[in-house]
């Protein structure tokens, strides 16, 4: 049953440490990586581009969320100061909005289409649009262990908000289809297993082993003609098994090679089962998983809900007594500023992690874009006429960084979130003429 997830998958307990393998040692191919596994030839291929979105609901402390200047000379308001170490690799983008999320009431309708830009439906039947991260996953996710990883540090809220929009809209930002969100993975251990331990493929092997035995038993009883028919089945089973095994073996081989070379590796212990008790541990381990997954090319798309819309997270370690949502109703308070800064610092942390991972001449961060956003600007006013955004990484040099961009004065047609998404998807190699409510790219991105 649903809640027993907690005790699930002890099968991989004790597997221990997984190392991040720089791209050359890992298997799946950018450029000609097959050669790289077998030989020492260094063949710089085009590096994969990755995209991650970090979400914190309920708006920011507006007074301390600002930046000015550019590059090394960029200056930050108090909330953005954690970005100082990576400031040449970020963009602070203001003034964008999601028109379809305005005028429908507060909270869930401000969130349910944040990444899709299409109208969403009230009442018992949910309907919206596929989100841009999942669209990317569909288009470019086939080559990796998982098309995307969808994480959250907070349980979804069920039921309905007073606007009569389902609370699922406020609890999920990644939508795999117009009718259903991707379930968020809250358990770091399960997220880790599905990315690094191929638990899904292990299960498939066990199913295939069993049916193979049954088919072999049948085969022994029959004529040569029928044997041929069963052999077709058996050899298909064996081929699929071999595929799975090979993927696993390649991974081991790559790990061994990396070890032999004594490379400095980013390594990570498998997280313990269960939910971390401390929110600080939870957010950090989720960021580590994304970093590791990006470096080892287990996935190229990630989304992470740090705090959902209507969040009921508590922050005793920040000396705030109210829960998140309650605190956001007084968003100019010092307490709420600390909450926002805490979440933004996760972006800084993840960006720094990725930037410490060399890849070719640059770093993994250089080939990624990590976007931090909220569903509104001010929680006190429930104002989403603009939303705060910070991106980190340059998507292989295609996205100029170190800039402060403000589109608020550009006019509603020229400050659409979906225009930003079109531009980002272009750089990820997915070119669309239209997405959500936009058919133009953001100017000067």
């Amino acid at each position: 049953m649903g809640r027993s997830k907690f005790t699930r998958r002890t099968l991989l307990r004790g597997v221990g440490v997984t190392m991040a393998l720089p791209w050359l040692e890992s298997l799946a191919g950018f450029g000609s990586v097959a050669a790289a596994v077998g030989t020492d030839a260094v063949v710089p291929g085009p590096f994969p581009k990755r995209f991650a979105v970090l979400f914190m609901g309920n708006g920011v402390n507006t007074e301390n969320w600002w930046a000015k200047g550019s590059g090394a000379a960029m200056e930050f308001g108090k909330t953005l100061q954690p970005l100082e170490p990576v400031k040449s690799k970020i963009n602070v983008i203001s003034g964008l909005f999601n028109k379809e999320a305005t005028g429908l009431g507060i909270h869930p309708p401000m969130t349910g289409n944040l990444l899709s830009g299409v109208p969403i439906q009230k009442g018992a039947i949910m309907h919206g649009g596929i989100s841009m991260d999942q669209l990317l996953a569909n288009r470019i996710g086939q080559d990796t262990a998982q098309a995307s990883v969808v994480l959250a540090c907070e349980q979804p809220l069920s039921g309905y908000h007073e606007t009569n929009f389902s609370n699922a809209y406020g609890s999920h930002i990644s939508w795999q289809s117009p009718d259903s969100p991707v379930p968020n993975e809250m358990f770091p251990s399960l997220a880790f297993d599905s990315l690094f331990e191929n638990s899904g493929s292990l299960r498939n092997i066990s199913v295939l082993d069993r049916v193979k035995e049954r088919a072999e038993r049948l085969r022994r009883q029959v004529s040569s003609t029928d044997k041929l028919k069963l052999d077709e089945y058996l050899s298909s089973v064996r081929d699929v098994e071999k595929d799975i095994e090979r993927m696993r073996a390649d991974k081991d081989k790559a790990e061994d090679r990396a070890k032999d070379k004594n490379r400095p590796l980013f390594s990570m212990k498998r997280p313990d089962n269960g939910l971390p008790e401390d929110l600080r541990d939870h957010t950090r381990v989720m960021c580590d998983i994304i970093a590791l997954a990006f470096q080892t090319d287990k996935t190229r798309i990630a989304s992470l809900i740090l705090a959902r819309d209507l969040s009921s997270l508590y922050y005793p370690f920040l000396d705030v007594r109210d829960g998140h949502h309650g605190a956001s109703h007084n968003d100019s308070s010092d307490g709420y500023e600390r909450i926002v800064r805490f979440h933004l610092s996760q972006l800084a942390y993840l960006a720094k992690r990725l930037d410490e991972m060399p890849e070719g001449e640059g770093t993994v961060l250089d080939n990624s874009c990590v976007m931090f956003m909220s569903n509104m600007w001010s929680g006190t006013k429930h104002d989403n006429r603009k939303v705060p955004i910070v991106t980190a990484g340059s998507l292989g040099g295609t996205l100029e960084t170190g800039r402060v961009l403000d589109y608020y004065a550009a006019g509603n047609d020229n400050r659409k979130l979906c225009s930003l998404y079109l531009g980002l998807m272009d750089r990820m190699g997915v070119k669309l003429s239209r997405f959500g409510d936009a058919d133009t790219r953001l100017k000067d991105l």
């Binding site: 049953m1 649903g2 809640r3 027993s4 907690f6 005790t7 699930r8 998958r9 002890t10 099968l11 307990r13 009230k122 009442g123 018992a124 540090c153 809220l157 069920s158 039921g159 309905y160 908000h161 007073e162 009569n164 609370n167 699922a168 379930p183 066990s206 199913v207 295939l208 069993r210 049916v211 049954r214 049948l218 009883q221 029959v222 004529s223 040569s224 003609t225 029928d226 089945y233 298909s236 089973v237 081929d239 699929v240 595929d243 269960g274 939910l275 971390p276 008790e277 401390d278 929110l279 541990d281 939870h282 009921s312 997270l313 508590y314 005793p316 370690f317 007594r321 109210d322 829960g323």
Partner: protein, 1015 residues
């Protein structure tokens, strides 16, 4: 037309091929009746081979047909003796057919045999062929074990799970075998890529499974997330509500009907009979009847109602509707009075706990739910006086400020002096009792299905079904007591109870509701978690532990200090309810586990189409155990994983009943026979009844077989045969992919019409099968089936309006329809878009209906213009010119005429007088043999007079090939001959054809390993 590749003659069933070439069809008749000319002994055959056949082959054939790579893979140089020839029985047919058709030697060959030499050779091959038929009669042939076709897999999953998941949507399309069917081992292969899809499909199907208190079921959608599970049960509960009739007028009318049952012609009907006929609840009708006809009421609303009842008119003759207006007035009266006396309950609050707290909302829900059959005595106007409002009623409605509601409980306010409410002080007690009786029979509401955020205003925020009305949280509240007590019978009550319990059991609703409540409990939670440093939420188990609950309850009672006793009791009741319910569900879940394993074994047995062996059972259970113990899966995940294993096993994915596990030819076991039958007639697995006969061991008995196949033909699953057999045979299987229609020119060709075109033959065939019509109806019937889209296309007026409303049109001939021939699907499929194609349509008739084999055309043929509108001459004249060329004529003469009779139908099968270029259409044609006819009627007449046997042979042969899952072989021809002789007496009823097939030796036996080795 599209020029197909060489088709080996063997694969086109039966003898009709030869018939096609001689308009008199004598050859076919002779052969079928065992043709005297063709009966020879082996010795005779040997002699004549040396004297006639061999010299003929040497002279006219082997110069091409020999060597390493002979044309058509036919090495006639190897035919050195009769024995050699017969080794390769089916080649005899090939040679015979070509010789008869005059196709070989080819016209371009220099050496052409004189007529008598050809005749001699034909005679010999015919004799050899007949000898071969007799020698092999009843040989079951090689039937390869194979995987299920995509369609069979989908139907099998449907019947196994009870929901139509169609997991093969993303599979590649199955190729068909040379008999045109996609159900044989010749064409159905497995590959690693496909196996991966099977694996994904198995996981998809398993994701629809959900565990119940006893066993498990499958939902039409995945049931992995709790919201999906919730949705599923909420829908089931609401569907059950909606199935009940709660319109008072219908009850009054039914009561009236019963009262006047004699006059209305039902003298013997009981009240229950009338209830059933009038579609109302027998139980509630009885209550209403007693209220109307029982003890006379003196005062109050029931007295008034009884008076209205007595005023209803008596029916004169046949007037079942005479009382309707009166019954509706009675209903309106009840509803009107009921509204005036509805009880109201105030909102609770206590200390720091406001009215939005769950315990208080639930308390209020409960007050309403348990008072729906009561009334508010304060609304009675004693001697005309309106009683003053109680102040607590004005407490604001929780969470309903601003745009979300009226802000306070909607009060019932009545006009002073309302005659419905004015009562005399002296008789107050009597009135109150009368109102109570009335209110008890006529509740203010039977059930609450949908609640807005505000208790009373359901207009703004609709869509929260069965909701408890919590502020921001999900939560369900059952409010259907009047329906339960007054309307539902015992079985329905049980069903409803079970659904509500399952909602909790399956979707974990109580526990989740409580956890949400905990997480939203701002102040209380802060107190609870004081000392918990991290700020992350506690795990669910901790929140729902009894001790934690008790702690929260204590905090709540403290926060509510100073509140009324009622309010504090509501808090205590809430926690008691939560603790009891949540832990009862947890226990029920644990207790149900063994039943899920039983269900797993049962599922596997049905999937394997046979009882499980002890080994099978042990293996499955061991697998489950290992998922739990070794892999650490929870119970549900382990059951689901085990299901994936069953779904992937060869016993499900393959027709293992076809495996030849014995040495020699042997009869099928009864279980094997059950599978063979069900995959033939249903394209799916055997049902309980078939398996029961298999278990009893009597399925193979001819009488049981015949009875079972008749039963199966009547079953709706026989649509599998209509779509899979019919669709392949008649080429409409993939009609939904048709891309040739130019939709800008034929805007009427919508997806809806396209789907209807596909559906028409499928429904027609299903009807022929289910109602046991003659197969000749396929050709000659006057009836068909249409839905609104198709009726419009055909110009048939019908009353139906819904796309899925199909009506039977008994005589559609006035609209040019009836039977298969003029169905739009075939006319459209065989037209290239902007013009008709008499060539394709004619070829479809002679090939698919009459079973002729048309040789491929020469590589260079002139193309006809693609757009009819741009033709200078009518199409028929273009074709006539084409036929003027003798090379073309030899074939086109065989089918053009069959297509020309359809010229009255345009490119999408629409009737027309003029073609697209404005030429008047002409439907006249001269059929082979010189018969003049016009239109579809003329074609039907021609077939009836001259070609009916060809049609029958074709149908028999194709059905047999489909039933056996292989191409026809020589041995089948005797069976077909036999069917022909036997079935004329039944008028070719469909069940007699099926009976002939399923009792044939080919169907009942399978070859063994030795038989194969020898051949």
């Amino acid at each position: 037309m599209k020029h197909g590749r060489f088709v080996p003659a063997l694969l086109v069933p039966a003898l009709l091929l030869a018939a096609a070439d001689s308009p008199s069809a004598r050859g076919a008749d002779n052969a079928r009746k065992g043709g005297t000319a063709g009966t020879m002994t082996v010795a005779q055959l040997d002699r004549q081979f040396e004297s006639t056949a061999r010299p003929f082959l040497q002279t006219y054939c082997v110069s091409c047909h020999s060597g390493a790579k002979p044309p058509a893979d036919l090495d006639l140089g190897a035919f050195a003796s009769t024995a050699d020839v017969l080794k390769d029985g089916h080649r005899v047919r090939a040679v015979l057919d070509r010789l008869k058709a005059g196709e070989m030697p080819p016209r371009v060959a220099k050496a052409q045999p004189p007529a008598d030499a050809r005749r001699g050779a034909i005679e010999w091959f015919e004799a050899a062929h007949n000898y071969d038929i007799r020698r092999n009669a009843g040989d079951p042939g090689v039937v390869l074990a194979r995987r299920l076709s995509n369609a069979e897999y989908d139907y099998t999953i449907r019947d196994l799970t009870g929901v139509d998941i169609r997991p093969t949507r993303e599979f590649p399309i199955d190729p068909s075998n040379s008999a045109g069917f996609d159900n044989s081992g010749e064409s159905l292969v497995m590959s690693p890529a496909l196996l991966k899809k099977y694996l994904a499909a198995a996981r998809d199907v398993a994701s629809h499974m959900f565990l119940q208190p006893k066993g498990f079921s499958f939902a039409p959608h995945p049931m992995l997330s709790e919201t999906d599970r919730e949705k599923y049960y909420v829908q089931q509960i609401i569907d059950l509500y909606h199935r009940q009739n709660i319109d008072y007028a219908d009850y009054f009318q039914a009561a009236w009907f019963f009262k006047h049952r004699v006059a209305l012609g039902k003298p013997r009907a009981t009240l229950a009979d009338i209830a059933t006929a009038q579609k109302v609840s027998p139980k509630y009708l009885n209550t209403v009847w007693t209220t109307l006809e029982g003890a006379k009421e003196d005062v109050g609303p029931a007295a008034r109602l009884q008076a209205m009842w007595r005023e209803l008119p008596a029916p004169s003759r046949n007037q079942p509707e005479a009382a309707r207006p009166g019954a509706e007035r009675m209903r309106d009266y009840v509803v009107q009075v009921r509204k005036k006396i509805e009880p109201r309950f105030w909102n609770l609050a206590a200390g720091k706990l406001d009215a939005r707290e769950e315990p208080f909302l639930i308390w209020k829900d409960q007050q309403y739910a348990t008072h729906r059959r009561s009334f508010d005595p304060d609304q009675l106007q004693v001697d005309g006086a309106v009683r003053p409002l109680k102040p607590e009623r004005l407490l604001p409605e929780p969470g309903s400020q601003g745009q979300f509601g009226p802000g306070h409980t909607v009060l019932v306010t009545n006009t002073p002096g309302d005659p419905d409410l004015v009562v005399s002080a002296a008789q107050l007690a009597r009135y109150e009792a009368a109102f109570a009786r009335f209110a008890s029979v006529f509740p203010d509401m039977f059930y609450m299905e949908e609640r807005g955020r505000n208790y009373f205003d359901t207009t703004k925020d609709r869509g929260r079904y069965l909701s408890a009305g919590f502020h921001n949280m999900m939560g369900y509240f059952r409010d259907d007591l009047p329906l339960y007590e007054l309307v539902l019978d015992g079985a329905q009550q049980k069903q409803l109870d079970a659904l509500w319990f399952d909602l909790d059991f399956v979707a974990n609703v109580s526990s989740r509701t409580y956890i949400q409540y905990y997480l939203f409990a701002r102040d209380a939670r802060a107190l609870m978690e004081a000392g918990r440093p991290g700020g992350s939420q506690p795990p669910d188990e901790e929140i729902t532990a009894s001790a934690t609950m008790a702690k929260l309850e204590a905090i709540y009672l403290t926060l509510g200090k100073g509140g009324s006793d009622v309010a504090l009791q509501a808090v205590r009741d809430y926690f008691k309810w939560a603790d009891t319910t949540i832990h009862a569900v947890e226990k029920a879940r644990r207790d149900a586990e063994p039943s899920h394993l039983d269900a797993l074994l049962d599922f596997a047995a049905r999937a394997y189409r046979r009882p499980l062996t002890p080994d099978d059972k042990q293996e499955l259970l061991a697998q489950y155990r290992s998922y739990r113990d070794k892999d650490g899966l929870d119970h549900e995940a382990a059951v689901r994983e085990s299901l994936v294993g069953v779904l992937m096993s060869p016993e499900l994915c393959y027709r293992v009943d076809l495996l030849d596990s014995a040495k020699a030819i042997r009869p099928l076991s009864d279980y094997e026979l059950a599978s063979r039958l069900s995959y033939f007639l249903w394209s799916s697995l055997p049902d309980k009844e078939l398996l029961a006969h298999a278990a009893a061991g009597d399925l193979h008995r001819p009488r049981v077989l015949a009875a079972q196949s008749r039963r199966m033909l009547k079953d709706p699953r026989v649509r599998g045969l209509a779509v899979e057999f019919g669709g392949n045979w008649l080429d409409f299987r993939r009609f939904e992919d048709i891309a040739s229609v130019d939709r800008t020119r034929f805007a009427s060709f919508t997806n809806e019409l396209r789907d209807a075109m596909f559906e028409e033959p499928a429904r027609f065939l299903t009807d022929v099968f289910q109602t046991n019509r003659s197969v000749l109806d396929l050709l000659y019937a006057t009836d068909t089936f249409v839905n609104p889209a198709l009726a419009k296309h055909y110009g048939i007026p019908i009353a139906a309006t819904q796309p899925n409303e199909w009506v039977h049109v008994p005589d559609a001939t006035a609209y040019g329809r009836g039977g298969l021939l003029p169905m739009a699907a075939f006319l459209t499929k065989n037209a290239p878009g902007l013009r008709t194609s008499p060539v394709k349509r004619g070829n479809w008739v002679v090939r698919n209906m009459l079973g002729e084999r048309i040789p491929p055309p020469p590589p260079v043929v002139p193309e006809l213009p693609s757009d009819e509108a741009k033709l200078d001459l009518p199409l028929r004249e273009m074709l006539a010119r084409h036929r003027a060329n003798p090379m073309c004529a030899s074939c086109h003469a065989r089918f053009d005429s069959f297509g020309l009779v359809f010229e009255g139908f345009g490119p999408v099968g629409e009737r027309r007088e003029k073609d697209l270029a404005g030429h008047a259409v002409d439907v006249a044609a001269t059929f082979p043999g010189g018969k003049d006819a016009a239109g579809v009627a003329g074609l039907q007449q021609y077939i009836r007079e001259r070609r009916q046997d060809n049609f029958l042979d074709n149908v028999f042969g194709r059905l047999l090939a489909y039933a056996l899952g292989r191409s026809l072989i020589t041995s089948d021809e005797a069976t077909i001959q036999d069917m022909h002789a036997k079935l004329a007496a039944t008028g070719y009823r469909f069940d007699s054809i099926i009976e002939s097939i399923v009792t044939s030796r080919q169907f009942l036996y399978k070859r063994g390993q030795e038989d194969l080795a020898q051949r």
